[in-house]
């Protein structure tokens, strides 16, 4: 019987009167991979910090590696590996220097040290970058290096706070290769994540929401618990299916999926009401479904989406709202965007995928008129982005990765400000703000400062601000980063509704399952567009049987690398 590496009873933490985490009971056994899953602000980081003994619990007890986190924090700190959510290494030091520093402060000496360091770097694919400054690495590489730094002293327990947040799929895969290796070496891993596939791969999972434990168990147990409550619905008119699901009180949530299907989660004990001209069949629950059940509010919010019922697309000629021809831009010697030609039509959703640093954000900045293309031309909403950038700006909406809002203003003040900044006439302000709020399903943002809103609400507010002037084109740069799955699905429905209104949409994302919501995908690498087309077409090009986004993504990238290898 494996001994308990972590043993927590009634663990909780409060800041003043506000409780951020309470009643956590958990046991993690040696060699286990333990996942902590939950949306922004669920208390995941708080829990991990307490396990690493760098945050004092305000309730309950916790033994880590046989030491009490309260009585012997130094003992715990010296034995665990802890990786915080942000980047925790020194950006001005090189890869090798960072690794040496991590070893030094943990008293790792002797001849093994160099061997181990070299081995870890090789495994992380960083051995070629030993002398590069940490700050000049991509996000994925920085995360891998931070993991290596935490493995130098061979800790029996690794505590990782969202290690794969904002990391592209390729780096994510390498990160997990290192972790799998650590696991085979007998290390215990406790990590937080918002990726459901990662949760699925755990030995045990704790679901958190608003600081309270929702469920604890092995993924297969949790999935089994909701078996029979998940349906796949297919039919010719998905809009009509969704409208029917909207009115069914037994339905907790539903999401439109790629491949012309809708997935619905139904309350325990209730059955899906039959829908005209549709086939509903029970589906095998995934961790996403589990999370949806666990985090669903007791009464389904009626009218949330019905405020903006998707209208059937008008049967008219769809004009191209984005036309770029051979667009390139250089920063010094570095070609950030290299000869990109794309078009986006009215009502079309184009998804841009690619590793970090592939040029997705730069391309969007060019199309927004923020950056002049060095070569090539681009027209957005009928205007040239370089020469008529003012006219372009008045017709586009842009939402950046960071949900750029004013944290000290209220939701309404933010909306009013952006409406006026876009030149919405005073007489129409009220109406436009009401329209944008409804479109973004912002019914309860209230008057409080934006900094106090949840990540998901801030996300929808940023969307409302970006569409308040009724743009013809919408650019969304990683709009769902760090948001929980349920909120992500909800957000995608809003996007789909906007597209149905005829807005042309360009979106980037790291969540592969989201790519399935796009009409067409553009894969970028090293500034170039290496593939463009609907998911099924791209899958066919690679000869894949199923249109799996991740497989398509990795397939094209490998093909590209192989091509480069030959060229070199």
């Amino acid at each position: 019987m494996a001994e308990a590496v972590v043993e927590a009873r009634g663990l909780g933490r409060r800041y003043g009167a506000r409780s951020v985490l309470e009643n956590i009971d958990l046991d993690v056994h040696a060699g286990q991979v333990f996942g902590v899953v939950g949306p922004d602000g669920a208390g995941k980081s708080t829990l991990l910090q307490m396990l690493a003994a760098i945050l004092r619990p305000s309730a309950g007890t916790c033994q880590v590696l046989g030491r009490d986190v309260r009585r012997d924090p130094a003992g715990v700190q010296a034995r665990v590996g802890y990786m915080s959510q942000g980047f925790s290494l020194y950006d001005r030091l090189t890869v090798a220097e960072n690794l040496a520093f991590a070893a030094d402060i943990r008293d790792v000496t002797g001849p093994d040290r160099a061997v181990r360091g070299a081995e870890l770097l090789r495994m992380a694919g960083l051995d070629r970058f030993q002398h590069r400054r940490e700050g000049q690495l991509s996000g994925g590489m920085r995360k891998k290096l931070a993991l290596c730094a935490n493995l130098m002293h061979e800790p029996p327990l690794l505590i990782l706070d969202e290690p794969s947040l904002g990391v592209d799929p390729l780096s994510r895969r390498e990160l997990w290769r290192i972790l799998d290796r650590a696991r085979t070496e007998g290390r215990t891993i406790v990590f937080a994540t918002s990726y459901m596939d990662e949760a699925d791969a755990c030995d045990r999972v704790l679901l958190l929401r608003d600081g309270k434990p929702l469920a604890l168990g092995a993924p297969q147990e949790l999935r089994r618990d909701v078996a029979g409550q998940v349906y796949r619905i297919t039919g010719p008119a998905l809009d009509r299916i969704e409208a029917a699901l909207e009115t069914d009180v037994g339905v907790i949530s539903f999401q439109r999926r790629a491949g012309r299907e809708v997935r619905a989660q139904v309350r325990d004990g209730s059955r899906l009401a039959p829908i005209e001209a549709a086939v509903a069949e029970a589906a095998v629950p995934t961790m996403e479904d589990v999370f949806t059940f666990a985090s669903a509010p007791p009464p389904a919010p009626p009218g949330a989406a019905s405020a903006a019922p998707p209208q059937p697309p008008p049967p008219r000629i769809r004009n191209d709202v984005i036309v770029s021809r051979g667009v390139s831009v250089r920063f010094g010697d570095f070609k950030a965007v290299d000869d990109v030609t794309i078009t986006v039509a009215e009502g079309e959703i184009l998804g841009l995928l690619g590793p970090n640093g592939a040029g997705k954000t730069t391309l969007i900045r060019i199309l927004c008129g923020l950056l002049s293309p060095g070569e090539g031309t681009a027209e957005v909403a009928g205007f040239d982005v370089a020469r008529q950038s003012e006219a372009v700006r008045a017709r586009i909406g842009y939402m950046s990765q960071r949900f750029s809002l004013y944290p000290d203003l209220s939701a309404r003040e933010n909306l009013t400000f952006f409406a006026r900044a876009y030149g919405v006439p005073r007489s129409q302000l009220r109406e436009r703000i009401a329209w944008a709020s409804a479109r973004a399903s912002l019914e309860n943002a209230g008057e409080g400062a934006v900094r106090d809103l949840s990540g998901a609400t801030r996300q929808r507010l940023a969307l409302a601000c970006a569409i308040v002037h009724r743009p013809r084109v919408l650019f969304l740069d990683e709009p769902t980063s760090g948001v929980d799955p349920l909120s992500r699905f909800r957000f995608w429905r809003l996007i789909a509704a906007l597209a149905a209104d005829g807005v042309g949409i360009v979106v980037t994302t790291h969540y592969m399952e989201e790519a399935a919501f796009c009409d067409r995908l553009g894969l970028m690498m090293d500034g170039r567009l290496i593939a463009l087309g609907p998911l099924t077409t791209l899958a066919g090009e690679l000869g894949l049987a199923t249109p799996d986004v991740e497989a398509v993504f990795l397939g094209f990238i490998e093909r590209e690398r192989a091509g480069q290898g030959r060229a070199a």
Binding site: R393, L409, C465
Partner: protein, 367 residues
């Protein structure tokens, strides 16, 4: 007519400004507590200097001289020694400021109608204090000679009518208060707009602004408006404090307000420039702070400009604070008007124009 865009921007800036308790605190602190505190503490009234006596004469004359030196506010008799060597030890430790050594038979020489002299040693460690101590000794001994002249020997003399204009009690308080007023305006004028601009960069909201039709100069106008309004408004409480501290207002309040706006414009133009060239709040504060230092030095608040070397005197023309210190001391202390102060106003205008243009040129490249 204000465009809807600009009005929206300005409304937002005011809302953000008024919601930032730290900034509000800094504004109030600078215009009240800091002003009062520095004025009270840094009066620089060099009085009651510690004087020791080595009297080798011990005559009526030497005693009278000592009394003459130590009865006023300038010196207090701290100690008596029998030799200069003893006093020297105390002087080196900094326990004394002045030592007066009266030679033997000084009284006798004077009575015999022969000229005499006495020694004075001043601790030069602090040049300012030493210069004043020296001047006091010279003045008081001249007066002593004058008063000791026997009635019969009275001769025609100059009757000095020495007046100190604008500040008859020779206190540093008034000037200090006015300097602090100018200092507060410059600090806030630079720091607030710079922080407001850089905050947009740091929060990433600048990207969002750039995709709107807002123009660079509209952003500038919106960023400086709250500072201009609030700092101009702060002149009124400052006027009350000035009155309470006994700084007379001899000039026209309307001219003061008008020239204050001109001054603040030059300060916010510097702040806008700092905001344009920096990327993070920390950089902005460092640049702003270390930029403010020379401007303060060259303002004449700490030391008179005419004691600086000529090249620094020329450089001081670039300090808005120099011109404003001249404006407020002219208005408050001397009762000057536009006829005397238009040059300063013109200089401030030139500084504003140059800085706004530079800021706009820098900013536009990345807008």
């Amino acid at each position: 007519m204000l465009s809807g865009r600009l009005a929206g921007l300005i409304t937002k800036e005011f809302a953000q400004f008024l919601r930032d308790p730290v900034m509000l605190f800094v504004v109030i602190f600078l215009y009240t507590a800091e002003l009062v505190m520095c004025t009270m503490a840094l009066g620089f009234d060099v009085q009651h200097l510690k004087l020791a006596v080595v009297d080798h004469d011990r005559s009526a004359v030497s005693r009278a001289l000592i009394e003459e030196l130590t009865t006023g506010d300038n010196f207090v008799l701290a100690d008596q020694f029998t030799s200069l060597r003893e006093a020297e030890d105390r002087l080196r430790r900094g326990a004394l400021d002045v030592v007066v050594e009266i030679p033997p038979r000084m009284g006798a020489r004077l009575a015999a109608g022969r000229p005499a002299s006495f020694g004075v040693v001043v601790d030069g460690s602090n040049g300012n204090v030493a210069a004043r101590a020296r001047a006091y000794v010279i003045e008081q001994s001249a007066r002593f000679v004058e008063s000791r002249r026997p009635a019969g020997e009275r001769r025609a003399a100059v009757r000095p009518e020495v007046r100190v204009w604008y500040n008859p009690d020779l206190t540093n308080t008034r000037f200090m208060a006015l300097s602090m007023l100018a200092q507060a305006g410059l600090m806030l004028g630079v720091v607030l707009p710079a922080a407001a601009i850089v905050r947009e960069k740091q929060e990433g909201t600048i990207e969002q602004l750039r995709v709107t039709p807002i123009r660079a100069h509209e952003l500038f106008i919106a960023k400086i408006t709250p500072t201009l309004v609030i700092c101009t408004g702060a002149v009124f409480p400052a006027l009350v404090i000035m009155t309470l501290m006994g700084v007379p207002m001899r000039g026209d309040v309307l001219i003061l307000l008008g020239l204050t706006v001109v001054y603040l414009l030059s300060a916010v133009s510097l702040g806008t420039f700092v905001g344009a060239i920096t990327q993070t709040l920390q950089q902005a504060m460092l640049v702003g702070f270390f930029g403010l230092f020379p401007l303060l030095f060259l303002s004449g608040s700490i030391a008179p400009i005419e004691s600086m070397p000529p090249w620094l005197q020329t450089a001081s023309l670039a300090s808005p604070q120099r011109h404003y210190v001249e404006i407020v001391s002219g208005l408050f202390l001397k009762g000057a008007g536009l006829a005397e102060l238009w040059r300063q106003a013109l200089a401030l205008g030139a500084i504003s124009g140059a800085m706004f243009l530079s800021a706009w040129l820098v900013f536009r490249r990345r807008w």
